[in-house]
Structure formats: C-alpha cells, structure tokens
Symmetry: C2
Subunit: 221 residues, 2 copies
C-alpha cells in the first residue's frame, strides 16, 4: 500500500479512541508528524488509497508506506522509532501478556462501550452490568500497579487510555467508574499526568456533547 508521501503523517478523526492510541504512541516517542483530520462522511482519496481494505482511520503513513489498525500501528511505532520509552517490554512472555490485554480492550471495551452509547434506555441496565464486569476484569489485572505495564507505561495503558474520556459520559448513563472501579479511575487520573496522554485526548465534556447530539439523532429520534 504505497502512497506518495514522505515523513510521518497520521490520518485520523479527533474523537477516535483508535487514532488517539497512535497519537499517544507518537508523543511517547517524541516523533514529529503531520496530523490530517478526516471527514468520515467524505473520506479523502489519500485515506481510501492508503487503507483500501477497511477504508478506516487511523492510518500512519511513514515514508510513503501505510500502516493500518491501531494496535499494529502502535507496535510499528515502537519498533521503528527508538525514543526514550519502550512501549512493549523486551521479555517475550511480558510482550504476549501485554498483547493479550490490549486485545481484550479491543474486543470487549470498545464493543460494549459503544453499545452503551447507542442503546435505548430500557437496555441500559443490562449493558451497564456487562460493562462493569469488563471494567472490573481490567481493574483486577491492574491491581496495585502504577500502570498496566507495572512501572512502565506501555501497550495496554495506551490501548485503554482513550476510553477514560468516556467515563464522564458513562456517569450520565448511570455507570460510575469511580464508585465501581476506584483503582481504574485513579489510574485514569494518573495517566493524564503524562503529557503524551493529556495532549492526545479531548475534554470528557466534548465527548459528552457529541454523545448527546448523536443520541438525539439516532436513539431518541
């Protein structure tokens, strides 16, 4: 998937948790890059050409080659740009462990979380229960550690970080992460102290406003 571009470019959409993962990883590695916001209702030729299979953001373009799918992009960033931080640990078992939990976030958190965003009020109670169960599983994995990668901020932290800005919206839906999963909520505050995270995420209220708008349009219409 070759595209005529030099340097590093990220095709993204501001509220995408998948795009935010890439932004955090690039910031951790202190990589300079060009950010290109996509209009998802009118995708650019560059996006369609660089991700012809899924036609989705985020896409990282590096020296004319495109890399797709957020966790694959984050691993690529880790392998290509040395920087101060290692996103994946060097021990193969620890790597597989990190990949397992990042995959868990992909398979469980996004699916259930976005269902919560779109669900009719009568389905909320059941979905809330399911989502709390997912969050509690993550909290058990976090335990007393500073980060999911222990003392090192790593792949799982990056995979889950974008969803912390959804917590505020979940409160409006009757799910208090602070009450149900206090350690996870504290981790969410802790990672915001990192510049890479703080500058890649958006105000939780902005997510909430968009949520209300989408809800009016699609759920309560």
């Amino acid at each position: 998937m070759a595209v005529p571009e030099k340097g590093v470019k990220l095709l993204d959409f501001w509220m995408s948790p998948f795009g935010q993962r890439c932004r955090i990883a690039l910031a951790e590695k202190e990589v300079e890059y060009e950010y290109k916001e996509e209009d998802l209702s009118k995708k650019s030729d560059l996006l369609l050409k660089s991700n012809p299979v899924h036609k989705k953001i985020p896409v990282l373009i590096h020296d004319g080659k495109s890399i797709c799918e957020s966790l694959i992009i984050v691993e690529y960033i880790d392998e290509v740009f040395p920087g101060k931080t290692n996103i994946l640990p060097s021990d193969p078992y620890a790597r597989s462990h990190a990949r397992f939990w990042a995959d868990f976030v992909d398979k469980k958190v996004y699916d259930c979380g976005s269902k919560l965003f779109k669900s009719k009020s009568e389905a909320l109670e059941e979905l809330n229960k399911e989502f709390i169960c997912i969050l509690k599983t993550l909290e058990t994995e976090l335990g007393e550690k500073k980060y999911f990668g222990d003392d090192a901020f790593g792949l799982v932290d990056i995979a889950f970080a974008p969803f912390t800005s959804w917590f505020y919206t979940f409160e409006a839906l009757g799910l208090s992460v602070e009450k149900e999963c206090p350690k996870l909520a504290a981790w969410g505050n802790r990672i915001m102290e990192r510049e890479s995270v703080a500058k890649s995420l958006h105000e939780p209220t902005k997510i909430y406003d968009l949520f209300c708008e989408l809800r009016k349009k699609f759920v309560d219409a």
Copy 2:
C-alpha cells in the same frame, strides 16, 4: 497466569482453526510439546485456570506460564523458539503488513465462514457473496506469490491455513473456492506440501461430517 507445568503444553480442540495455527507454528519451529485435547463441554481445571478471562482454547503453557489467543501465541512461539524458520519478517514494515493480513483473517474469514456453516438455506446466497468477496481480497493480496510471506511461509499463511480444510464443506454449500479464487486454491494445495501444515490439519471430509452433524442438530432441527 501461572500454572504448575513444565516444558511446553498445548490445550486444544482438534478442529479449532485457532489451535491448528499454534500446531503449525510449533511444527515449523520443531518444538516438542504435549498435546492436550479439551472436551469443550466440560473444560478442564487446567484450561479454566490458565485462561480465566476467555476460558477458551488454544492455550500454550510454557514453563508454567500460559499464553492465550492464537495470533499472540504464534508470535510468542516465533520470539521464543529460534528454529530454522522465522514466522515474522525482521523488517518492521513487513511485520506490520503481515500482522494486518493475519488480523484480516481473524476479523473476516472466521466470522463469515462460521456464519456460512450455521446459516439457514435461504441466507446462503447472500453469505456466499460476502465470503467470496473476502476470499477475493485475500487472493489479490496473495497475487503471484508462493506464500503470503512471499518466498517465506509466515504469519499470514499460518493464520489462514486452517481454513483451507473448510473449502470442501463450502463446495457443499455452493461456494467453489477453486472456481472463484483459483490462485488461493492453488496456494491451499501448495501449503499442504509442508509437513507442518499437513500434520496439523484434518481431512476436509472430517470437517464436512461434523458440519452435517451440527447442521442436523442446530440449523435444520
């Protein structure tokens, strides 16, 4: 996820395409291991203890540590056991490219393929079209190459190989892979020449028999 086991052990179920991936990877690396067939209707304590999150096979247990999720297991095998073969290429872009296509197989082939297995006759035509489209995308990626990894048999070959033994059953459902995707069918024959693949897969007729049995029980009941 520590379990009191030494050496290498694979918890698996004979017809699982995900388990077969691990068997192929272990065979490519010439790793000796203990195979433990699981009864999925009565999962062993070892399985529940070593994959408490998903409670699914395959699980690779190596020196008392368990690794879950087939593609993560295959990468682990590649990183830990040197062997003659490298499953992932050393170049980071080529690695991300291989990961992208392995992920495509995970997201598209299994979901749509297993829907085909379970669908009522009236839904078959639509599903066949969708599945052919997925296979054609893979065939375009394969092109004139010997393997998905070019001259090297690699991650994407391992990810997709188990599904070749479903092709025979697809014929019964009105989908001829040979006719629709001749290059992919030829690749399917080519990989069977590798001992690692031949000994890890089962006779396509065995899959077909099981398919008929399950169909009688769940679809046509």
